[in-house]
C-alpha cells in the first residue's frame, strides 16, 4: 500500500478526510492518532506563526477566536515558501472578506500595519544621510531635491485609526478616537517604529518615494490638506533615519 505525498497532504489539512491506509503502528494496525500528531503539528505551528506575526490581531480577537480564524486561513492559504517570516501576506485580505468579522472593519488595515512592521524588521540595512545634509542645501535649491529612502520605510493609508489601535494594544497608547490615520514606519537601527502621519503627509511622502522633487511633493501634501506641515514630516524622516540620499535636479 503506497501512500503518496498528495494523499498525505490532503489528509493532513482536512480532518474530515480518512487517514491514509498504509500508515501503521508497529503491529501493522492503522496509524489512527499517530497520524493526528502531524495534523496537530501543522495546525499549531502555523497558528503560532500567525499569532507571532499578527500580535495585535491576536489580542483584538482573543486567543480562542484567533486560533479558530487562523485554522480556516492556514487551510485555504498554507505557506508558499519555507520562510515563515513572510507567512500571512494574504491574511489582511482574508480578514476583510471573512463574513463573521464584517463588523470589525478595521482588522484588515491593522493586519496590513503588522505585515508592514514585519517587512520593515527584515528589510535591508541602509546608511542614512548625515543629520545636517538637508540643512546644508541652499534654500533656493530645496525644491529640487530628490530623495531615496531606506528599504525599511513603509507607508500605509487607512480610513481607520490604525496607528492608535496598534498603540493602544501594543504600546500603552490612549483609547483610539474614530479618525482616519495614515502611518509611516521608520527603523532607526533594528526596531521598526510606526508614526501617525499628519494631514497631507501621506500624499507628500508617496510623491517623494516615487522620485518627485521636494517642491512638487510638498505641493501634493498641501493639495491634500491645507494645513500640511512639511517641516514636521521632514523632521520625522530625519529622526527615523529614513532618507538614504539627496540629489539635486534641475
Amino acid at each position: 500500500m503506497i501512500v503518496s505525498q498528495t494523499e498525505f497532504r490532503g489528509a493532513l489539512l482536512d480532518g474530515a478526510r480518512d487517514r491514509p491506509l498504509g500508515l501503521v503502528d508497529d503491529k501493522s494496525r492503522a496509524a489512527g492518532r499517530r497520524f493526528d500528531v502531524y495534523r496537530n503539528n501543522v495546525a499549531v505551528s502555523l497558528t503560532d506563526a500567525l499569532a507571532t506575526g499578527f500580535p495585535t490581531i491576536a489580542k483584538l480577537l482573543g486567543e480562542e477566536n484567533f486560533a479558530a480564524i487562523a485554522g480556516v486561513f492556514l487551510r485555504q492559504s498554507p505557506p508558499a515558501s519555507p520562510l515563515m517570516m513572510h507567512y500571512g501576506a494574504g491574511f489582511p485580505e482574508f480578514l476583510a472578506d471573512f463574513a463573521p468579522l464584517q463588523h470589525l472593519g478595521y482588522l484588515a488595515d491593522v493586519a496590513r500595519l503588522e505585515l508592514a512592521l514585519r517587512r520593515a524588521y527584515h528589510a535591508a540595512d541602509a546608511a542614512p544621510i548625515a543629520p545636517d545634509a538637508l540643512a546644508a542645501i541652499a534654500p533656493e535649491q530645496l525644491g529640487n531635491v530628490v530623495m531615496t529612502f531606506a528599504p525599511a520605510v513603509e507607508t500605509l493609508q487607512s480610513p481607520w485609526p490604525v496607528h492608535a489601535i496598534w498603540a493602544f494594544n501594543m504600546a500603552d497608547g490612549p483609547k483610539p478616537d474614530a479618525i482616519a490615520q495614515d502611518v509611516l514606519i521608520t527603523r532607526t537601527e533594528f526596531d521598526p517604529k510606526p508614526h501617525a502621519l499628519s494631514a497631507g503627509g501621506f500624499a507628500c511622502l508617496t510623491a517623494l518615494k516615487a522620485g518627485v522633487p521636494l517642491g512638487d511633493a510638498a505641493a501634493k501634501g498641501s493639495e491634500a490638506a491645507q494645513d500640511f506641515d512639511l517641516g514636521a514630516l521632514l523632521a520625522l524622516l530625519l529622526a527615523g533615519n529614513a532618507i538614504t540620499s539627496l540629489t539635486l535636479t534641475e
Partner: protein, 285 residues
Amino acid sequence: MLDDAPRFAKLPNRPGVGYKPQHYSALTTDPGDVGWLEIHAENYMGAGGRPLAQLRHLSERFPISVHGVGLSIGGEGPLDPEHLSRLKHLVGWLNPTVFSEHLAWSTHDGAFLNDLLPLPYTQATLTRVADHIDQLQNTIGRQMMLENPSSYLAFSESTWSEPDFLREVANRSGCGLLLDVNNVFVSATNLHTDPKDYIDAYPLDKVWEIHLGGHDEDEDDHGSPLLIDSHGKAIVDPVWALLDHTLALSGPRPILIEWDNDVPDWPVLHAEATRATQALAKVPA
C-alpha cells in the same frame, strides 16, 4: 589556509545550543560550557535587520552550524530552486562550519507545511533523497549532514530499516549524518524497538554532530506511549543514558541542546549544556 575556509574549521567536541535571540547577551558575555551555536537557516534569509546583524557578530566568536528546516529533501517533487539559491547565498556569506538538513519532506504541490513529515524507506525514496542531497551539495559546494527523524508511525511499504537506509544514503551521496539521540529514543518507544539496537546498527563513523532535545508524552489509540518530539522541555534521563551509550561507541562528538518552544532562561539551558560536558568527560578522547 584557503580564503574560503570557514573561520572555524570544525565543530568542537563540546556542547552547543540552538541559538535564540533572548540569549544573545548571555552568549556574548559569558557562554560558559557552550562552545558553538546552531541556527535555523530559514530564520536568517531576510534582507537585513537585527537577525543578520546578530548572526554576523556571533559568527566571529562561535563556530556556527546551519540547520535547514525547509528544503523538503524527501519531497516527491523537485527541490525548490529559489530555496536552493537562498541556501547557497546564506552558506556563501556566512561560511558556517557545517550545514545539515532532515530526512523528511515538508513541501508538496507548492504548499510548505511547516513540519518534518515522514518517508517510507523504499528504493524509490532512497534514489530521490540521494539525488536531492547531491543537488544540494553541488549547489552549496560542500558536504551536508542528514538528520534522522522522530517517527510516530511506520509505512507498510517500507523495505529498509532506518539505520541501513541512512547508511546507504550517506554512501551514495557522500553526505555525513547528524544523529538526533532524542529522535532515536522517541521513535524506538513509539515503534517498540530497542533504541540501543538502533545506535549499535548506526554508521557512527559518519556522525559529525549529535542532537539532544526534550519530548512530550501522549498515548496512541491502544494506550501505548506515544512520544512527541517537541523541543519544549528538559532532556529526560533515559535520553542522557542513550547518549552515554552512543558516545562510548562513537567517541566524543559535538552535542547540540535543542530547545525551541517554551524557551527557558539562560541558566536552565546552560545547565543542559553542562550536563553534556559531563557526558563528554566520561568518554576517552
